[in-house]
């Protein structure tokens, strides 16, 4: 009985040792990976820090102006030559003031069947709103 128990205990001990070793090994590997990942994060963070400073150095206005003067054909135009949209001339100037457009009347040609024969020898009387010819010529508001 004791021999059996000893065997069982020893087997359990062996299994536990194996299990413990496996867990410890997994933990060691995970720990190593974690350390590497953290170190990589620190390295990347440091690289970002350095690159940010480098970017700030490279985009200094003094450096950009020197480069622009050397490589581009841009003149150093002062800001006073900038203007606003309101200062631009209109592309198509209006033909008449807006008020005249509001009061415009549509001109309809007179029908050909009822031509108005001007009297060459006599003075043309002034058109009257009551005159049917005037009414035919002027419609609308």
């Amino acid at each position: 009985m004791i021999r059996t128990l000893n065997f069982v205990f020893m087997a359990i001990t062996g299994l536990l040792c194996l299990g413990l070793y496996r867990i410890a090994e997994n933990a060691r590997v995970a720990n190593s990976e974690l350390r590497e990942t953290r170190a990589a994060i620190v390295r990347e963070h440091e690289a970002l820090t350095v690159l940010g400073a480098e970017w700030a150095r490279l985009t200094q206005p003094a450096r950009l102006q020197a480069l622009a003067q050397r490589h581009l054909r841009l003149s150093d135009r002062p800001g006073v030559e900038l203007s606003s949209l309101t200062q631009l001339p209109p592309k198509n100037p209006p033909l008449a003031p807006e008020a005249q457009f509001r009061d415009a009347k549509i001109v309809v040609p007179a029908p050909e069947t009822a031509p108005i024969a001007p009297k060459a020898t006599t003075a043309v009387p002034a058109a009257s709103p009551k005159d049917p010819a005037f009414a035919a010529l002027h419609t609308g508001t």
Binding site: I2, F9, T13, L16, L20, I23, A27, N31, L34, R35, R38, A39, V42, E46, T49, V50, G52, A53, E54, W55, A56, R57, T59, Q60, P61, A62, Q65, P78, G79, V80, L82, S83, S84, T86, Q87
Partner: protein
Amino acid sequence: MDARPAALSLVRSRIALAALLCAAGFSVIAARLTEVMVFGVGAAGVATVAEPAHPMRADLVDRNGVLIARDLPVSDLYASPATFWDTNEASHALAQVTGAEEGHLEEAFAPKRGYVLVQRGLTPDARDAVMRLGLPGLTFEPNYKRYYPAGRIVAHAVGQVDPDDNGISGLELGLNDKVRGRADAAPITLSLDMRVQYVLEHEIDEAMKSFRAKAAGGIVLNVRTGEVLALSSRPDYEPNRHALGPGDSIRNRMTQDVYELGSIFKIFAFSEAVEESTIRLDEIFQVSSLKLGNHQIHDFERLGPYLSASMIFAESSNIGTAQIEMRSGPTRQKPFLRRLGLLDPLKTELPEVASPLYPRHWEWVEAATIGYGHGISVNPLSFVAAAASVVNGGTLLKPTFLKQDTTQVGERVVSESTSRTMRQLMRLVVTDGTGKKADVPGYDVGGKTGTAEKAENGTYAHHELISSFCGVFPISDPQFIVFIMLDEPHGNKESGGFATGGATAAPAVGKVIARVAPLLGVKRNDTFAAATP
């Protein structure tokens, strides 16, 4: 037969002892298993990243987020000379790669004992180069080094740190408590605008070169929020080096030096006179000569013999201004200047601020000369803050180097009406007076010129001038004030041989305004632009 039970008892007791030992062993194993698997004790804390030797400082950025100062990771290199085969060879190799002095290393390595500092602040590239040497006994201690990407551009305002990352000058010192140990916090946003700073520095350099000035300085200030957008002082220095180069200076002339600023001080004499209604602007004064006791007051050029009060300001007549100031007298002038903050040390984030100098006995003659800017010395930043207080509607403005979102509402120093009148007078200076060269079409610049003779050995040196101009734009609704000062400028062909503020500093201010106004979103005056061919 008696021996058998005794032997059996002995065996049993041994088995019991062995079982007890086994049980104890298993208990220990079980306890450890439980500890590791359930509570996880012992698993944590092994993967740690080495902390730097001291806390980092927070980044400093300008108002648009542009980096001004940052701690960069570097390494301090130490060596154990006992491990070197040949100390001279090691000294040579390390000196080549790190820039350390070879002779110093040879001397330090010679005893072949101890722990020797080879070089501080190695960049990652230099550290890799050292690693490639393959020398034994080298240790890299992680550290940080403050780096200023803009270099000289903003050196005086931002300042420097010592090798241990403690602020020793400028905002690095003034904001040390806010910056130090806050590496993980948000960056500190300053009021400075690097674009405006660059333009100011560029135009100051051009003016210095053109007029062969000994030194110069400039300030751009928001008259509503009190934010200093740019501050420049020449000569300057390289903040990334701890040693000064030839001709360099760490002296911030805009805050650390006090000057008799001359006629730009007339802004305050006229503000006081308008506020106290001691003059009418159309009132006529005799400006041909004035003698106060033994003191003869001169104008830079002969004016008059009669000038209106407004033209006295526009043409910058000392004789006229002295008469106007005499109407207020010393008893009213001194409290007025104190209200404007001109008689007390300026309080701002910059620690290097000089106190004003003014006469102990402030009588009538002193009042008259102080009226036109002689006999009182203030630092330029204090002057600019006081001038901004006059034109911003009349409330005291405290300059700040930290970004602000709201308009400052300070104590009232002059009425809104006086502020409006002063703006009209300052516009008159540019349209009809001594500051014509500061005009910028479309931006309605107002301002005041100043030309002061430098005091030397108790007298004034006629050919050593402090020439300055203080410009405000747009004058109808002021947003910014631009001040430029040249120390001992010399007239040139362009200035007609004159070295006055109107001939030297005023055009520089005009150029700064023309370049920064669009950057700062100040709209052109379209009415003016439409009238311009």
